[in-house]
Symmetry: C2
Subunit: 614 residues, 2 copies
C-alpha cells in the first residue's frame, strides 16, 4: 500500500544565491531512513565532504520532521536539526518540542536543508508553498523572546518562529535555536545557533495548513484510545512536578552533577531544587508542546528584568542540575533566572552549566584569576557571577570569549591542568546523568554519535527496575554491573534512533509507547507493513549511518571514551563504580558488528544496506 | 668528611659561538642530585624554558657520569644523556654502557652540556683538560662503525668515540648515539642522535687519564670482595646466553611483543630466537662494558655486507623481540642483520622495531599501499622488507620519512584508524615487556618520565618471585593483581633513579647490589654519610624533579596512560589481565604525594627540597 501520510518533499534553500529547490523524498529512502534525524543524517552523509567545516557555507543546516508529525499521535510533533556541529566538529543532531515542527510539516515538507550565507541578516518564511527571504537587519542583536514577539506580529500570530539570540549571532559554539517565544523550547545541543548565525539567518518562520493524511485513520484512533489510560497515568506525575520531579531520587543514586562532577552528596540542595519544591514555590502553571499529553513544561513568573511579572518558561531537570547542583547553587529562583538568561540570549543550558562549572573549578584552582574574569568572583554557589558569565559568553566579552568555545577548547586555551577537569565526550559537555552511577550511561555517553548524550541511548531509565517488554532484552542488571550492559545500550540506541527519526518525544515510552505500538502507528500512518524487527533494524541502520559519517571524519575507538574524572575519580554520593569502559566497549562492538577499533565492518554495512563511502 | 672522589666540574660548550666554560659542581648539588640523570635533570630543569624545542640550539644535550664512574665498582661506568626529547617533546634520558663514560670521567668532568649549532659538522674532542672542536665535514654521511674507526685512527686508539650515523644527521626522531665501534653500545632511546645532529656534531671523542679518588679505598675493596661470589654466580647465565637467555620464559608469560602487540603465543618462534639458540648458532664470543663482571654483550660474525667475516655486536633481548617476534620474524640471522643495520645507521632498535611493526599493520590493513612504500611488500615476517625500511628510515627516503617521525606522528600523517594501533606512551614506543603480563609494567610505563620505559621502574623483574630485601616492601603479589603494585613501582622508581644517577648497570642487582651495598659504595667513594633512607629519598627527589620538568610542559594524569591496545585488547599467550590503570594510578599518586591530576603537591616539593618553578 502506498504511503498516504507522506508529503514526500525536501526543500533546499541556498541563502547565499537565494536559490530555492524542491526535491521529492522517495519512498525507498523514507522507508530506510524514516525522517527526522535519520533523514537528516542521510542527507548530511551523502551531500557533504569530510573537509567541510561546521561554520562553512557548505555545511547544510537541516530541519526535519517525521511521518507522524502533523498527526494526533501522542507527542509526535517535535522536529530535529542536523548538521556538522561547530562544538564537536563531528555529527550533530538536536531536537526540539513546541509547535514549530507541526507548523513546518503543515507547509508540506519533510525536511529543509539550508546552505550558503546571506549577504545580510534575513528571516526565512515558509507560508505553505510560498517561500521568502526577508531583510532582518533590524532584528540582529535582539534576544529571542523579543524576536519571537516581533516576528509573530509581522507574520501573524499563527506563525511559529525558530530564531537565534545574540549567542548564535556571535557564533558561540553552544548557541541554541529557540522556538515558542517566552516558553522557550530549544534546539539545545551541538551549537546549531552558531551554524544558523554563520549563515546570517536570524529566524525561520513557518505557517501552514496542509493536513497529514493517514493511510489508516481508524486504526490510529483505536490505538490512541488504547494507550490513553496509561498516558494519563503518567501525566499525573509529569504534569505536577515536571522532569525535575525525580531530582531527590537522582541525587540519592548519584545521578546529578555536583561541583563540576567532583563532589558526592548534595542532599539538602537537591530537596531545595526539586520539582516538588518548585511546585510549592515559583511554579505558576504548566506548558506543553504540540500534541503533548504529558505536560512536563514549567511556567514561572519572572521577578525582575524586562519580563518582570510575566509568565515565562521555567527550568527543567537538566537545566536545574547543570546550572544548580553542578555550581553548588540551591536557590531555585536564581536557577530560574539563569535559565531565563540562557533562553533569551540563545544558549544551551547544559553546555552553559558545564562550561561555568569548569570555569569555577579553574578559578578555585588559581588557573583563572579575578583579573582574567574582569573582576567577577567565580566562586562556587555565586549565582550573580553566573548571571554575569552567561551574558559575557553570549556576547563573547572578556573571559566569556574563552568559554564560548566550549570546555574542550577553553581548557586548551587556559592550559596547565585545565584539561584534567574539562568534562566532555568528543567535545560535548555531559548532561545531568553521571556514568559512575549507571553503567549504561557510561557506555551510552562513550558511543553516542554526538558526544556525551543521554538521549541517543536513553537507557538510564531502563537499566534497572524498568523495562520495555517488546524490545528484545529481558535482562535487568544491577546498575553497577558492567557485564550485559552492551546489549541494553545496543537495543536502546536502535530504538531511540527511531524515536529521533519519527521526531517523537521519548517520554511517551513511560505511557506505554513501546516498540509494537510505535511500529503500528508508523504502519497506520504510512501504509507500510513493517514488523517490529524491521522497525528496530531501521533504527540500527540509522544509528550506523551516523557512525559512518563520524568514521569518515576519523572517529574510532580512541574517541569512544569518557572524561577522565568519570573514569578515575570516585565521588561517592550514591555512585560506586568507576566504569570499566574497555570491557564494555569490546562487548558493544560485537553487538554492533564493528571491528575492534569501532569501525563498522563491511558485512554489517551490506547487511544494513548502507553503501560504504569510507 | 669532604668528598674526595669528586672532580666537581661541569663543562659547558656552546658550539655555535665556540665558547667553553667550566663551572664547579658544588657538594650540596651533588648530594641532592648525585650525577648522571639526576644531575642532568637538575641542569635541564634550571636552565631551559618550557618553550625550548628539542631541536632548538638552546636545548642542551647533556652527557653525565656519576661519582662511582672511574672506579672499579662493578658496572659503574655507564653514562647518561639528558635533553628534551625530539621524539616525545618532554623530558628525555638515555644511558649507555661501553667505555666512553669512564674515558669522559677521566678527563675530569661530571657532566658536559652542549648548546648551540656549529656552522659546519664538527667533532668535539676532550683530551684531559684540552678541548677542541675540529672540522668533521668529511665524516658527515658516514656510518657509525666507520666513523669510530676513522676517529680512533685520528685521535689515538685509546680514545673513546660517541658518534651519530646518517639517522642522526637526518634528524630521525629516534636516532641514537653510538659508542664502541662495531660492538655498538648505544644511547638508544629518546632520539638524542637527532639532537646531536641538529647541533652539527658528528662525534664526541674523549680520552683522559685522571684518577677517580676514593674517600675510603679499603672499604670499597672489602665490599667488592664480599659481593664477588654472587656476581660470579649471576655471570654464569648472563655470560652464556646474554639478555635473551630468558626469551622462552618471556614468551611463555606473555612478556614479548608479537605482531605489533596484537598476537598471543609465539612459542616455536621464541625458541628459535632465544639466547640459547644464539649460543648454539651465530654467537662467536662475549663482549662486556667497562668494569663489567657480567658479560651480557653478544658478538657474532657478519655474514655479508661491508663487515662480512668480521666480529660485530649481536642483538640483545629488546632488539630480538622488537625486530623479531614483533614482526613475526624468527630467523636469528635476519634479526642480527637488522640489528647491524640499525647500529651502523644509528637507529634505536626498540623504536625502529616499533615503527616497522606499526607500518606492517598499516600495510596489512590497507592504510599503506605498495605504491606508498615504493614497492616494498611490508608483510609480516618479511625480513628483506625490514632491511629496506631501516635504510629508508635512516635516510628519510620515501615512506621512511613518515616512519622517521616515530609511531605517534606517523599515525597522524597516515590518518584513518592508524592511531588505534600506534603503540606509544607519551610518544615513546614500548620496549619488549607487555603491561598485560605484569601490572607493575603497566603502571611503570604510564608513569615513567620519558614515556614507555621499563628501566625507570625496572620492577618487571621484581614483581613476583624475586625480591630486593632492603628496599622497604615485603610484598610479593601475583603479577595480574593490581592492588599493592603502586608501592612496588614507587619504591623501584626511586631506587632506579639512583642507579641512573650513579650511572650503574642495573643488572648488578641480580648479583646482590641492593640498596645497602650501593649506599655504602657511594659513601666510601665520596666520604658522605648517607643512610639507606637518605639514599632512597634522594632517588625520590630526582624522580620528582623529572616529573616537575614534565609538569611544566603540561604533562598530567591525562598523559599517564597506556596504548589503547594494551588497555583493551586481550591477546592471550600468557597474558591475562587488562590493566585497570585508573585504580593503580590513584594509589600511586598517593604514594608519590601528587594530587589527583598527577601534579606534585607543594608540601611534597618542600619536603624533598625542590623549589617550585611551575
Amino acid at each position: 500500500m502506498k504511503a498516504k501520510g507522506y508529503m514526500g518533499k525536501i526543500l533546499h534553500i541556498d541563502v547565499g544565491n537565494r536559490k530555492i529547490e524542491q526535491r521529492p523524498l522517495s519512498d525507498p529512502v523514507a522507508e530506510k531512513y524514516i525522517g527526522g534525524s535519520g533523514l537528516g543524517a542521510k542527507i548530511l552523509y551523502d551531500e557533504t565532504a569530510p573537509e567541510t567545516k561546521a561554520l562553512d557555507c557548505e555545511n547544510p543546516l537541516i530541519f526535519a520532521v517525521g511521518p507522524l508529525t502533523g498527526t494526533k499521535i501522542y507527542n509526535s510533533n517535535r522536529f530535529q536539526v542536523i548538521a556538522k556541529s561547530p562544538l564537536t566538529d563531528i555529527y550533530g543532531e538536536s531536537n526540539c518540542g513546541g509547535y514549530w515542527g507541526e507548523a513546518f510539516k503543515r507547509c508540506g515538507y519533510d525536511a529543509v536543508l539550508i546552505t550558503g550565507k546571506a549577504d545580510r541578516p534575513i528571516t526565512i518564511c515558509l507560508s505553505n508553498d510560498q517561500i521568502t527571504m526577508d531583510e532582518a537587519t533590524s532584528l540582529w542583536g535582539k534576544e529571542t523572546f523579543e524576536t519571537d514577539h516581533i516576528l509573530k506580529k509581522q507574520y501573524g500570530e499563527s506563525s511559529q518562529v525558530a530564531c537565534i539570540g545574540p549567542a548564535g549571532e556571535n557564533l558561540v559554539k553552544f548557541a541554541n535555536i529557540t522556538t515558542d517565544g517566552t516558553h522557550a523550547r530549544a534546539v539545545g545541543r551541538c551549537g546549531f545557533g552558531a551554524v544558523m548565525g554563520s549563515k546570517n539567518i536570524k529566524a525561520i518562520v513557518v505557517r501552514g495548513d496542509k493536513e497529514t493524511e493517514l493511510a489508516n485513520p481508524d486504526k490510529v484512533r483505536e490505538l490512541l484510545k488504547k494507550l490513553g489510560p496509561s498516558m494519563s497515568e503518567f501525566r499525573k506525575n509529569m504534569g505536577a512536578f515536571g522532569t525535575s520531579g525525580g531530582m531527590e531520587m537522582c541525587e540519592e543514586i548519584g545521578n546529578i552533577p555536583v561541583k563540576n562532577w567532583f563532589q558526592g552528596p548534595f542532599t539538602d540542595g537537591a530537596r531545595k531544587i526539586s520539582g516538588q519544591r518548585m511546585a510549592e514555590t515559583i511554579l505558576t502553571s504548566n506548558y506543553h508542546c504540540g500534541r503533548c499529553v504529558l505536560n512536563c513544561g514549567r511556567v514561572i513568573r519572572a521577578v525582575d528584568g524586562p519580563y518582570a511579572g510575566k509568565d515565562i518558561g521555567g527550568p527543567e531537570y537538566e537545566t536545574i542540575a547543570l546550572l544548580g547542583s553542578n555550581l553548588l547553587i540551591d536557590d531555585l529562583s536564581a536557577i530560574a533566572k539563569a535559565n531565563e538568561l540562557c533562553n533569551r540570549l540563545g544558549l544551551d543550558t547544559i553546555s552553559t552549566g558545564g562550561v561555568i562549572g569548569f570555569a569555577m573549578e579553574a578559578y578555585q584552582r588559581g588557573l583563572v584569576s579575578k583579573t582574567d574574569t574582569g573582576g567577577i568572583e567565580l566562586d562556587w554557589g555565586n549565582h550573580k557571577a553566573v548571571f554575569s558569565m552567561i551574558e559575557m559568553i553570549a556576547t563573547r566579552k572578556g573571559f566569556g570569549a574563552v568559554l564560548a568555545e566550549g570546555v574542550k577548547a577553553a581548557a586548551e586555551q587556559i592550559g596547565g591542568i585545565a584539561a584534567e577537569f574539562a568534562l566532555h565526550v568528543k567535545g560535548l559537555e555531559p548532561p545531568a546523568h553521571d556514568p559512575r552511577a549507571k553503567m549504561t550511561v557510561a557506555l551510552g555517553y562513550a558511543t553516542s554519535n554526538r558526544g556525551a548524550c543521554h538521549l541517543q541511548a536513553f537507557s538510564h531509565d531502563f537499566e534497572e527496575g524498568a523495562f520495555i517488554p517488546d524490545l528484545g532484552s529481558e535482562q535487568l542488571i544491577d546498575r553497577f554491573t558492567p557485564e550485559g550492559k552492551a546489549e541494553n545500550v545496543f537495543l536502546m540506541q536502535n530504538f531511540m534512533s527511531m524515536f529521533d527519526s519519527l521526531t517523537c518525544c521519548k517520554f511517551v515510552l513511560f505511557g506505554g509507547m513501546t516498540v509494537e505500538p510505535l511500529t503500528q502507528f508508523l504502519n497506520y500512518v504510512t501504509g507500510w507493513d513493517l514488523s517490529a524487527d524491521d522497525f528496530l533494524r531501521t533504527g540500527e541502520r540509522i544509528f550506523t549511518l551516523k557512525r559512518m559519517y563520524n568514521t569518515r571524519l576519523g572517529i574510532s575507538r580512541k574517541d569512544d571514551t569518557l572524561p577522565l574524572r568519570m573514569l578515575t575519580h570516585k565521588r561517592g554520593g550514591g555512585t560506586n563504580a568507576l566504569p570499566p569502559l574497555g570491557m564494555m566497549l569490546n562487548e558493544y562492538y560485537r553487538y554492533r558488528g564493528w571491528d575492534e577499533f569501532g569501525i563498522p565492518k563491511i558485512e554489517k554495512l551490506k547487511e544494513l544496506g548502507i553503501a560504504s563511502k569510507v
